[in-house]
Symmetry: D3
Amino acid sequence: MKKITEIIFLLSLLSWTSYAAVNDFCVADLKAPDGPSGYPCKPINEVTADDFVFSGLVEGNTTNPFNAALTSAFVTDFPGLNSLGISAGRLDIGKGGSIPMHTHPGATELLILVEGEITAGFMTPFHLYTKALKPGDVIVFPQGQLHFQVNSGNEKATAFLAFSSANPGAQLLDLLLFGNSLPSEIIAETTFLDVEQVKKLKARFGGIGIVSS
Amino acid sequence: MKKITEIIFLLSLLSWTSYAAVNDFCVADLKAPDGPSGYPCKPINEVTADDFVFSGLVEGNTTNPFNAALTSAFVTDFPGLNSLGISAGRLDIGKGGSIPMHTHPGATELLILVEGEITAGFMTPFHLYTKALKPGDVIVFPQGQLHFQVNSGNEKATAFLAFSSANPGAQLLDLLLFGNSLPSEIIAETTFLDVEQVKKLKARFGGIGIVSS
Amino acid sequence: MKKITEIIFLLSLLSWTSYAAVNDFCVADLKAPDGPSGYPCKPINEVTADDFVFSGLVEGNTTNPFNAALTSAFVTDFPGLNSLGISAGRLDIGKGGSIPMHTHPGATELLILVEGEITAGFMTPFHLYTKALKPGDVIVFPQGQLHFQVNSGNEKATAFLAFSSANPGAQLLDLLLFGNSLPSEIIAETTFLDVEQVKKLKARFGGIGIVSS
Amino acid sequence: MKKITEIIFLLSLLSWTSYAAVNDFCVADLKAPDGPSGYPCKPINEVTADDFVFSGLVEGNTTNPFNAALTSAFVTDFPGLNSLGISAGRLDIGKGGSIPMHTHPGATELLILVEGEITAGFMTPFHLYTKALKPGDVIVFPQGQLHFQVNSGNEKATAFLAFSSANPGAQLLDLLLFGNSLPSEIIAETTFLDVEQVKKLKARFGGIGIVSS
Amino acid sequence: MKKITEIIFLLSLLSWTSYAAVNDFCVADLKAPDGPSGYPCKPINEVTADDFVFSGLVEGNTTNPFNAALTSAFVTDFPGLNSLGISAGRLDIGKGGSIPMHTHPGATELLILVEGEITAGFMTPFHLYTKALKPGDVIVFPQGQLHFQVNSGNEKATAFLAFSSANPGAQLLDLLLFGNSLPSEIIAETTFLDVEQVKKLKARFGGIGIVSS
Amino acid sequence: MKKITEIIFLLSLLSWTSYAAVNDFCVADLKAPDGPSGYPCKPINEVTADDFVFSGLVEGNTTNPFNAALTSAFVTDFPGLNSLGISAGRLDIGKGGSIPMHTHPGATELLILVEGEITAGFMTPFHLYTKALKPGDVIVFPQGQLHFQVNSGNEKATAFLAFSSANPGAQLLDLLLFGNSLPSEIIAETTFLDVEQVKKLKARFGGIGIVSS
């Protein structure tokens, strides 16, 4: 009979290990609306091991004009990440391919090169920080910095990515400038690009512009 | 046909730019209950430019016994501020007017004087930090410090305010002490004010006391 | 009539003291789902003094095999604590009793000894930080560290506890290792314990294992 | 010989358990200047168990005009608290004594009553939240709220305090208003107190005013 | 003699209001190195009211090719802002002038228009959020978003700015892309700009490139 | 001559892009003492691309009794990570190998399996969350949870790791319990292990105990 008593006591010791343990983890209830610090917590009795595992961070299809593919494991695919301040991705870039200039306004990115050669870097107003990376090299792009990744080798390149947010946004510079309804004259005035250049790129990217005003 | 392919690819690059981008911004859904880090996010497809713009930070009506007016642009008026840790206000003080002693328990305040002269300051147990401000002067009242603003010039004074919170509370000392049901004897005992002084001010401010117990 | 005008003006000064003052406090609405930064806020007009007071942090019943009792005052019992980053507890340990090894993954713990003698400490991979405490001694167990408390005196010992979280979880090492469905062979392999020892303790604690996979 | 190899391997597993473990704990080097998030860390090889233990949270001397005593265990006395967001205190109030109105601009306070009766509370512009506390009651004063504690019983009262900061400041209202060089006229204007009352209290508290300008 | 005793007692009540009050404020010691959460604190006895006041947020000189001027009040000019998460600026744009596309990777910006008309906005990959602002309008640019400001009226425009950081960085897009040693071919490849356009702008902005590798 | 004027103007626009940009990044000055939020910042003119790149996250040597190797890229090796809340590692486990039970008190861990099969999981008092992982699977171990990794396949396994801290500590359970001077009797009492088992493991791990008291 001792066992029962002990377990009851241990359970009572744990009476404060409440089922809504705000500090230990909070698996996303993805059906509820998102909030400033993440999604509300799924009831603990509905949480399973599958909430903490994501499958499919495998090689993407690079047969596109850019010879590149990005795969992501963010909180919307992987509810166990909620509020933990971390997520993952995978980058495949074929020979001659590249990932265009972009920023992540809400996350630092870490890139671990596992195969091939990637030249990557970020810029501040006065400096360029760049390097040709070999397998086993890791580069960090601090939060909000404009950065790029180019396959500078003779073969396919593969990297794993980690982000300091469960749900990092990505902002491709061309879509910001040319993919919406911002008038060509304002773009030209505020970027110093020639209007013809702006119009050419708006023609290329502008079809997806959605006006919000 | 290349354009379509490119856009599809760019969109796939952006597949992780999910519509619930927790880190980029989270416009308040003001109909939902508030939480410790702000309001839940409005669905991104309901967000418009108007969520990020507030109109009406103009001169207030100072024809009142205090010759002063405060106007605010906080998250409850301006849902784009949600969780961004900033908000704004405007202060107009007529000649001879002042803003009584108060604190903001959850926000630092920055005051930018644009017209007239204001003498403002805050106190710690051992020091007074105060200055007569001229247009172009900026003063900071660190979070939670008791502070005051007095028109010390010969004309109307105007200032813009910024707060380090999307929804700063304001606590006027007189309302804290004399505007509720706290018994006069306890007030006198814990402030060293004379009981007659307390009763006089309770008569002035006490009508709005609401007992919570 | 002046009084009315003044109060109206003061109220207008307070127009920004909105009822959803995100920064001042946010009493938990315990009927709503928890989130990463705590519970949503209860409407301010439903908040009473009772939300900020907890009753019952009194001596627990130590007539159990461990001669010990833990009592807690966490947000789930005490909604005024929501998002304030603090909570309380009380520990009573009879002569010869002890609290087994455990961690709080999301909170630092402070123990204030008020009666008797407790030997307590925590460990890092290279060091043991321990002390026999007398009444009036305070010890801190930094967040996430494995720690223990043993009554090392000749009488009952009592301590008050504070945690740097409104809702700290507690993880008893024995329940982590022996109280669930983790196979004995994996436990033995990853702890270097003998399999017989593992099986003996699983028999003692294992009845409450719940498989999640 | 196996043992040596194993330990070397375990040490190598721990090679990343660097001596400057920024996340685990950071004991204050109190000889270095303080910073926004606390003191710099003491070298780990100088850290001892004594850094995590404070002695002396015992009954204070209440033979003063206020029949009250406060004792504190903050980071400046107790370097192991550095950056952990928690600290402790003890409050003794003799019969008829009280602690005057004050705020902690940077910390929430938790009061655990262990002996006697204390009536305590805090105020917002529209409400008073107060209660007569019995032993075993806990009350929370959210960060930055003006609050008070009065011995409302027939005997000495004792409470333990916890704060959500390693180094909470305390601001006694009388010292803020009357203990420095703020001119009586400005105090009267911004508090609505009578000038005579202000002068009376400045005479009582004003001797310690230090002008900073 | 009572006064002395009382003050001594009040001082002892304040014994915990230590001079290094980590939570109340921490004025920057600008001669010490900066850290992740700001500058170390200046000793409290060297702090004066001047640390909390900045003078000079006045109209800038707009007689330059861009008809625009920016003035700032950041922690490096204004040490009282240290770690308080707020700072200020002033923007003057002459008729026909504009501020080029830029981001603040570490701060949200609030713009309060006081005179003239400014059309301002920010872009996400799929949307443009923009508005022509009138005096009294406030617009928020969430942290890290690419944004612009154009004088769209017939007269000079003036705005006050607030930032959610004591020391916001500013990244002008043209300097990021064309002001450093990043090779024209990589810029063209990762922005889809024509190489001739890139070379033209590098010639215009490239003189200040500094290679870091 | 226009170019010079423009650049001077742009530089003046950037006058607030101070060299100590607290928000953009803060590369660690590893010669200075660590603090609660990381290392002080290296002067910006000493920062190079190499600060943002780490080389050597390659296969470790698994010819040891555990058939396992861990390699890390933390702030102490990689100063650009300072205060960015992220770091990386690599795990190689030979056939039959495993990583013993451990916690990271200050970081969430993400494991990306790239080769072989690893069975990994973590435990709470009532549940086990575990899974046999295939290449392309990602698992998250929330901050402070006790977890393990076992090679459950027929070949070598390789994984990349990311942590939500620039400098995560690692606490191997055996070293915590058996690798220091904690007396066998206290270990037995607070873990329910048999004393003989404790002594056996202390003999295996105890040689590196360092007493701190």
